[in-house]
Symmetry: D3
Subunit: 293 residues, 6 copies
């Protein structure tokens, strides 16, 4: 029981690594990788971290080698590992939206639906999920493991179609490919080993990590706005504010003015500011947030 207060966490290495290390930093944990050392340093005596390939993290949780980790929904499915999914953490290298595994063919090929591919060769890194997708649909295909540069395979004539991951579709289109079906929607997930989740101390620690990661992620898409509003315009200004977030309104020493503060979606600001000005707000300032909880 004693001495058990140490949680082993798997951090994704490679394309998701930098975004993950940044997310942890904003959440309150500095992970530092040392050139000649395999164990990244982390400024919390209750944590030890391992950098692992995103494909391997589910297996290490299942085996109990690690307690908690981040991986993709896709690789969780592919490995079929028996672990607990704690929460979705929608972030990635490029954007903060979920990614899709899509079935794509050459732009000038005759294929328009998955069933047109009967008898064809499909290249993919996500072998198991793809095989199951075609089996479930009753379409007989040859699925081949692709060691990377999958999009190029169709162009080069090495495969008839591919199943590949994409966030914006840009790379797919840039290769002259055409998407004909969506195979799987995926995003980063926080997962825990079953034994760790059953241990009260470990579960509390995992939940603390989850709370802070969520708070930092939320702050990415929000900003703080402050403005001064004369009493006679206050209602008009408050009417413009998104109803979901309740503003903080404080009277100023000069009693006919109010200071109004609110946290809003970053994406709304460019439309909101002109309306707030029109409603009588003055001295509008916008500032960044680290965490919103």
């Amino acid at each position: 029981m004693s001495g058990n207060n140490m949680l082993k966490i798997g951090i994704p290495k490679g394309s998701l690594e930098e975004a993950t290390v940044n997310l942890f930093a904003r959440s309150g944990w500095k992970i530092r990788k040392h050139h000649r050392n395999y164990f990244p340093e982390i400024n919390d005596p209750e944590l030890t971290a391992r950098l692992c390939r995103v494909q391997e993290i589910p297996r290490y949780l299942e085996d109990g080698v690690l307690d908690v980790g981040l991986t993709g929904k896709d690789w969780l499915l592919e490995t079929g590992a028996d672990v607990v999914t704690v929460s979705d953490l929608v972030y990635s290298k490029v954007s903060n939206r979920p990614a899709r595994w899509v079935l794509a063919v050459a732009g000038d090929s005759p294929y328009v639906r998955p069933e047109d591919l009967a008898g064809c060769t499909i290249a993919t890194e996500l072998l198991g999920v793809t095989r199951r997708y075609f089996e479930d649909a009753g379409i007989p295909v040859k699925v081949q493991y692709s060691w990377g540069a999958t999009e190029a395979k169709v162009v080069e004539g090495l495969a008839d179609a591919i199943v590949e991951v994409t966030e914006t579709g840009t790379t797919i289109k840039a290769h002259g490919l055409r998407i004909i079906a969506e195979v799987l929607l995926t995003n980063t997930v926080l997962i825990a080993g079953k034994a760790a989740w059953a241990d009260p101390w470990k579960r509390a620690k995992i939940e603390q990590i989850d709370l802070l990661l969520q708070g930092a992620l939320r702050a990415d898409s929000l900003v703080g706005l402050k403005m001064n509003v004369p009493a006679h315009n206050l209602d008009a200004v408050l009417d413009q504010l998104p109803s979901l977030n309740s503003p903080t309104v404080a009277g100023l020493r000069d009693s006919t003015w109010y200071a109004v503060e609110i946290v809003v979606e970053n994406d709304l600001v460019r439309d909101l500011i002109p309306r707030l000005r029109a409603a009588g707000a003055e001295g509008i300032i916008e500032y960044s947030l680290n965490k919103v909880i």
Copy 2:
């Protein structure tokens, strides 16, 4: 009329590109350039963007190929394009001050005034403006187009003088050149095509962009200050604050103290903070702003 709600914007490519993309990001528009794609993505369905050389943007607005864009006052003059100047946006790759096109000669040459260059060869990228400058002054010179590395031309003996742009004069001096006249003061301008400006929807959209860009630029040189002040020092502290910006003063629950907030010029802070401390302010904190409108 319908379906017209799309504005085509020209973003400067090259030395001003990164600063411009950053300015738009702070203003609320994310412009993402794709490796294999000519159309930068922009997160506003009412906008399409093109990356163009700053010298070409005025022409594209004049031709109606684009609706709005950013260019330099210098290239607007050089091209003589018939467009609307919406506003000045004083920012650049290096600093946030206007730049100057100057007439410079070798440090050890006998030339001290423009008229000493009669009969000489002048190298410049700004051919038309330079020719007009010397014609207006009645000084006969040979103006040659320079394909870059203009400062070196005087050093190498390939020209007698140059007309070149500079922000700080550092590069000019580092080449051992001496400035003998200022030919043109320039800065970035937001310009609109005449037809776009005459269209009410497009004009409103252009004005929204202008408002937000100005707000983001203003925030670059301002910071927020907060401090706590006991009631008996409040007037002394308020006296120190720049008169142009009115502070937000709120009484605290503990009634003998006030929370004072103000937005001030970044450049004044290093002198203001010692004076605020002397006047009785405590717990002074400074924070960054994204936009000030």
Copy 3:
């Protein structure tokens, strides 16, 4: 008196340079290095800056060539320069903790205490301090100046032990070395020449720089938190806050809620936020600070 209002400051070049330039930027002084120019530009007409090796700055202050500068406690001791230490500024390239000069030997060597090294060869860049250390301890050794890559010397059999600087011990361990003693604890210091310190104007300017540098450094480890708290939970929330920092509490227009703001140690936030939530705080946001004075 007249014309004397110029302070010459020495900025460390090399491994500490970027961190120092950033610290000055956050403090209110922009130092810009020009490609073909030896004098970094600084946006304060009362300052001129020189980039110097950290080892040379004490000497230049002693000689009166510069008025004020940043160096390490280690090199101040090594040079024995007769200057005024204004304050400690604990920051570095890697972390914001002090560094240590340690005595290290090969992991598999028999040496366990400094006295075991009698008759051995010690390689170090800190020649004088190391010699004095062994002389004071009465241990006869041969101390050799090392021109860099000191850790490798023990591995390669070129020295029996080394005295080398380390922040985390990671590089030492990665070379398979074992630390057997700490020779010196060091950090960055702000130092002034004696004549400059005696001049009232220069001393006031040095103290202004010190105040702002300290304020910026302090802000590195602090963040601002804001939250809304219903009246009935206010005491429970205030009880959670670190006692050293007094929160700003303001009543909201809607009288049963309070807005609470506080500045806290960055490192405490990940534990504090769950407790604040449990105590009834809502809408907790965290934001960054530039300066705290």
Copy 4:
């Protein structure tokens, strides 16, 4: 007459610079560019070099500022400079074949011949040559100067067609463009100013440079082959050798064998070697050449 023995040479700066400096090195002249110096060093007391834009070199020769230089046939035509073309030097950044300025349109556009472009906008860096091309063909078009990234202009809808330079057509095709005509075939040329060419010493020096540059360029596409051949196979082996190059045949001390050496086109070797082996040659070795004159 005296002191005249100095030739001023213009070396192309930019995309052709590295290939040119390498060619001169193989020809016997080392050109070294110094970081903080405008005059590249050249190891021949009879030469001074200037790095100039390829577009500017013809003008500097015409003005007598330089004596000799390298430029493209395209820019020679565009500038219309009155200089002497000494020789063709077919080399470039990418390959050693001539390049073409081609007229290209969007792959999916209706244009198939130049005359289909009547009334259209053509973007190009080669303004004068392009205007003349369409005038000579009697096709009325608007030719606009392009400041770079010309291929993208058609894709982006900023121009209807472009005139752009290409060696292999790869970039044109990669942009989805279709070539509909060839406007100009171009390659690097060695040109001389008229006064320099009329001066016997300068002309002899220019001819020496030309001879060596040609010798080094020729060596790029040739290799040396050596082999041993028994007397009874000598005729069969010699029959395989390209008739244009006469082999060197020497009897060996062991009188029934001959050593055969020949210089052949690099591109023929992979087919020649199997045939030489079949004809009885043994110990075939291939080696590189620096110059062939």
Copy 5:
């Protein structure tokens, strides 16, 4: 039959790519990869090339998608593809010696023989070969696929042993691992599809490629030596020469001297030259070779 004269060749992409492209260049085929194009250009109208992962090439030959290609003996075994092995081509990214797949454990672990690993977890990229190795030895282990950074897995405690490829053992040792068995010796092989090998034209073309690749590889480890030898020393000098290579000896016009040429192993030269000098050879020069056939 007609129109069949095109051979499709698979070139390894990734770590072996640069070495392979260089080898083909020295053999007489220039392969150029285009930035926006999937088909590397090759200067032989009878060849088309595809860049493929080394693991995928055997499969594409088996399927008849490609005719000939380069892969490793290891991946040929792992895939079990039914193809023709034309020849061994011992070259690699690092050296020109075969590589080994070795079984390695932590340096301080108790394992000394493969059988000590019974019940342990083995991480490897070469899943099939490794499973067969342990099955053949009758040792029950859990073999897990490793997605890279395999050496680190033992250090990090994620596996008990690894099977990894190494040329010099350096990386293995640098991770503190200990090799306890050799699982497989491997090198690059030229392989052909069965149908292609059965087609006379394709087979001849493959044999031409093989001949030239072998000739270029051989030249890597050989150099040419030339020297002049007076008649009375000729036998002494010839005695020093390696007996396998017969020298070319030609009498000079000045009849008492001979010119001697020979091709020798690069590695012998540093010992051979002092001996040749001692035996009376003069003017010894060494030069490089492109091909030796």
Copy 6:
């Protein structure tokens, strides 16, 4: 006695490292540096190598830690180490000429001779040699150790003069400095420890290394020329050849022609080839050499 057959060699690390590793490669020894290993690999079982700073190599030879090494004449003098100088090896990072330590002052300073610097401060990395230089000349100066960027010190007003190393004087001039005296001429030297030099096996090995390094260095400045010459022009052609190198002349099977081969200075070729052509030589080819002994 037995087991003594191992020579320890010190290879300069840093600015001379790449040139040295290349020189050894051309001489027959491949030195490979491993990322995580301190001992560079060398393909000779009789050698072990250490990478050391050029300033430390003399000391390690003197102490017997190493047997042989490369350093500069300057650091040999500065350290005063008691070792054997085996030979001069004139090569460097930049060129293959000796370098000079020069005394330089600001271009616009009044100093013209060393004696004008009496009472001044001199900054240099070569402390001992510089002190001795001024003592020998009887000029009282303050010599300060400079930790790099020495040229800038005069420009920045931190020193009155510097003693700095230069090959071409370019950097000195680019800083606006003026050379007023030469303090020391230096080049790379091969040095041996006294004990190693006294050991016959070690001395023979050192002499082998010296012979091959000299042969490779010599080949850098030489090339091979071959040409065919008709009998009636043979004397005219031979007359053009530099008298120091005797050509190899062999009669061809076709008896009226001769094959002539010679090794000549690279720098002479550009003038020699035109003369050989004029004298009747045909088919002149130039090729590179690896070693000339």
